[in-house]
């Protein structure tokens, strides 16, 4: 068998003379994860909400400095999400890739597999899926078939891109944070080449793929929201069930808590690492294709809008729990939509808006850290 190749780099040879208990932890992440399982649902909601509010407060000062009344801006944000006719469907649309990628991240982070490669997997998935559905001779297939093979190709491509990081980690001990970061940049270059040359629409003036109209995702509930949101909604309970009731979910958690024990008693931790990277990659790839076929008409140079990065934050704020990811994804999407709307209304500088959104992220992370420390000292 191939087991000698897949075994953990550290196993066996240099055991510690003393058992360390509890095992070394990334304290902050552990605090986050622990709260997801047991202690205080309240604090898991309270901390991010209070932190986000604090960030918005600071943002409000900046808005006021810019000469606009922050209260009316925040009012416009709420309006943009809750009262504008398409507020909800926009929010759902933006949340879709965030949740799809975020659930993948959540699974990986539960296993303490620190991938940050969602963006690259998303792009690679979009490129592969688009390549397949815009390939010559395939356009005559029925729409359903086209959609399925397009999404399938995207999932496979994303999974391979993620799996590559897993193979590098298992075989060569390459750091997953670093390799997935590299693979994200490489994925972007791949996209640039693909739309400029590889799968370019020869008719198009600009660097674009052919239109994917034949494989466009239908919308559902007669809404502006495309079917992809349904995928995200379905994925959440599936992921939850996997974590709670499936062997694979058990292994993921076991890997996160103690790879040595998993290895010695249940399953090769290297293979669980690989599998979780493959699944997270596949979900990110799916997100890429869902966005291309659900929202856009074709794949262009600007396909990288950063969902793969934002989803990291969504996964963490969502406490690595699928339901949490859904809520955080919707929250983040709502913030995006609301700010967009307010930005249009008040003609705010775009840099100010991105500054405030970035503050929200930092404050939430910071708030978590403060809460964790406070818990520690008690």
């Amino acid at each position: 068998m191939t087991s000698s190749e897949t075994r953990q780099p550290t196993s066996g040879t240099t055991p510690s003379p003393e058992s360390t208990w509890p095992p070394k932890l990334d304290g902050w992440l552990d605090a986050v994860a622990r709260r997801a399982t047991a202690e205080g649902i309240l604090s898991s909601i309270l901390v991010p909400v209070v932190s986000a509010l604090a960030a918005l407060l600071v943002g409000g000062v900046l808005i006021a400095i810019d000469g606009v009344n922050p209260l009316s801006v925040y009012h416009a944000i709420l309006q943009g999400v809750f009262t504008k006719s398409r507020g909800f469907s926009y929010t759902a649309t933006v949340a879709t890739p965030l949740v799809l990628i975020g659930v993948g991240y959540a699974l990986a982070y539960r296993a303490r597999v620190f991938t940050i490669g969602g963006e690259g997997q998303y792009l690679v998935g979009a490129v592969a899926g688009t390549a397949v559905v815009t390939a010559g001779g395939i356009g005559d297939l029925p729409r359903v078939v086209l959609i399925v093979i397009g999404l399938g190709a995207a999932i496979v491509a994303g999974a391979l891109w993620g799996g590559l990081a897993g193979v590098l980690a298992n075989r060569f001990g390459a750091s997953i944070v670093i390799s997935t970061l590299m693979l994200s940049f490489i994925g972007d270059s791949l996209l640039q080449w693909a739309v400029r040359d590889g799968i370019r629409d020869p008719e198009s003036y600009n660097a674009n793929s052919r239109p994917i109209t034949a494989a466009a995702l239908p919308s559902f509930f007669g809404q502006k929201t495309h079917l992809g949101f349904l995928f995200a909604l379905v994925l959440v309970p599936i992921a939850w069930w996997l974590i709670r009731r499936h062997r694979w979910g058990f292994r993921i958690d076991a890997l996160g808590h103690n790879p040595g024990t998993l290895d010695a008693n249940e399953f090769s931790s290297a293979r669980v690492t690989l599998s979780v990277l493959v699944v997270a990659g596949g979900l990110a790839g799916l997100a890429g294709m869902v966005e291309t076929t659900g929202v856009n008409i074709r794949l262009g140079q600007e396909a990288s809008v950063g969902y793969g990065w934002d989803a990291i934050i969504v996964a963490l704020i969502g406490r690595l729990h699928p339901v949490g990811v859904l809520i955080a994804g919707l929250g983040m999407a709502g913030l995006t939509i609301g700010f967009e709307s307010a930005q249009r209304q008040f003609e705010l500088p775009s840099s100010l808006v991105s500054l405030i959104t970035a503050f929200v992220i930092i404050f939430v992370v910071w708030g978590d850290a403060i809460a964790a420390r406070w818990k520690e000292t008690r």
Binding site: P9, T20, P22, K24, L25, D26, G27, W28, L29, F114, I116, L168, R171, F172, G173, A174, S175, V177, I178, S179, L181, M182, L183, F185, I186, S189, L190, Q192, W193, R196, D197, W309, I312, I313, L316, P349, S351, L352, S354, L355, T357, A358, F359, I361, I362, V365, W366, D368, A369, I370, A372, R373, E376
Partner: protein, 290 residues
């Protein structure tokens, strides 16, 4: 083809490599102490803006460089406060930090030069003083890790913080210092970009050089000399790539965009476990938790 193998190509490679080399040196100090710095791009960009504004105000590119260094150090301090003292996730904080820096520099830049005002050209430094500066920095970093107790201490903190702690070293303080130093060099790199032969700032002027620098650090196995050599190598690749476009060679230029990252991945694989990754890279330190 003769233009390809000319002194000019080499010089172009050096110019392109300088800012990246400095940022990579910063990241080395920073990461050898165990702090992963995904905020590097943001620190570079902050240093670039700081250097530009001060150069514009004082008319001295050297003071501009100093300002870039200080602004970089300041960003390093803020980052250290979050990840070292508050022990926030280094990955998320780093990414968010870069987002903040891009937004903040754009915002400030636009606040300073409103629409309709072209950003002024500032006094510039030639390539050779900057080469000298970079060589001084690389020698300094090399010296720090090879010849000084402080360097040994930083490495020890990145390798085994509990050991350093038990010996009475202040892990938090050393990580603070290393992160500030890392930010300072990254900021200097940004300032060198705008106060060097370019003499200009525009939004996101660093254009991803911080990420290349991060890749280089891994590629170089956290050693200063290979990192700087790598920076110049990639600079040379870019310079050559631009010169190749006229000729018949049809390598897509996206290959060159991806080159630093591909080579880093290959380096991760080829040098496998000898990659000298600081063992505690990315782990916050809490006494007694291990």
């Amino acid at each position: 083809m003769d233009t390809l193998f000319s002194i000019a190509t080499v010089e172009a490679g050096i110019r392109l490599g300088l800012p990246v080399a400095l940022a990579a040196l910063g990241a080395i100090i920073n990461e050898r102490s165990g702090v992963l710095n995904l905020g590097l791009e943001g620190m570079m960009l902050s240093g670039a803006l700081g250097g530009y504004i001060v150069n514009d105000a004082t008319g001295s590119p050297w003071i501009g460089l100093l300002a870039g260094l200080l602004v970089g150090a300041l960003t390093g301090g803020v980052f250290a406060g979050l990840v070292v003292t508050f022990r926030t996730s280094q990955v998320v904080t780093g990414i968010a930090f870069t987002i903040v820096a891009i937004a903040a520099t754009t915002y400030l830049f636009q606040l300073r030069w409103d629409i309709g005002e072209l950003p002024p050209r500032v006094e510039r430094l030639g390539m050779w003083p900057l080469v000298a500066l970079t060589l001084v920095c690389v020698a300094g970093v090399w010296f720090l890790f090879r010849r000084t107790t402080l360097g040994l201490t930083i490495s020890a903190v990145g390798e085994s913080p509990e050991s350093a702690d038990a010996l009475g070293y202040n892990v938090v303080l050393i990580r603070w210092m290393a992160t500030i130093a890392g930010g300072a060099l990254a900021g200097l790199g940004g300032a060198v970009l705008v106060n060097g032969p370019l003499g200009l700032f525009i939004e996101e002027v660093t254009a991803g050089r911080g990420w290349v620098a991060l890749a280089l650090v891994v590629f170089a196995g956290w050693r200063p000399v290979p990192a700087v050599a790598g920076a110049f190598l990639f600079g040379l690749c870019d310079a050559a790539q631009l010169r190749l476009q006229g000729t018949a060679t049809e390598v897509p230029y996206e290959v060159f965009l991806a080159l630093p990252y591909v080579v880093t991945l290959i380096a991760l694989v080829v040098r496998a476990r000898r990659s000298h990754t600081p063992a505690a890279l990315g782990d916050p330190y809490v006494r007694g938790a291990a």
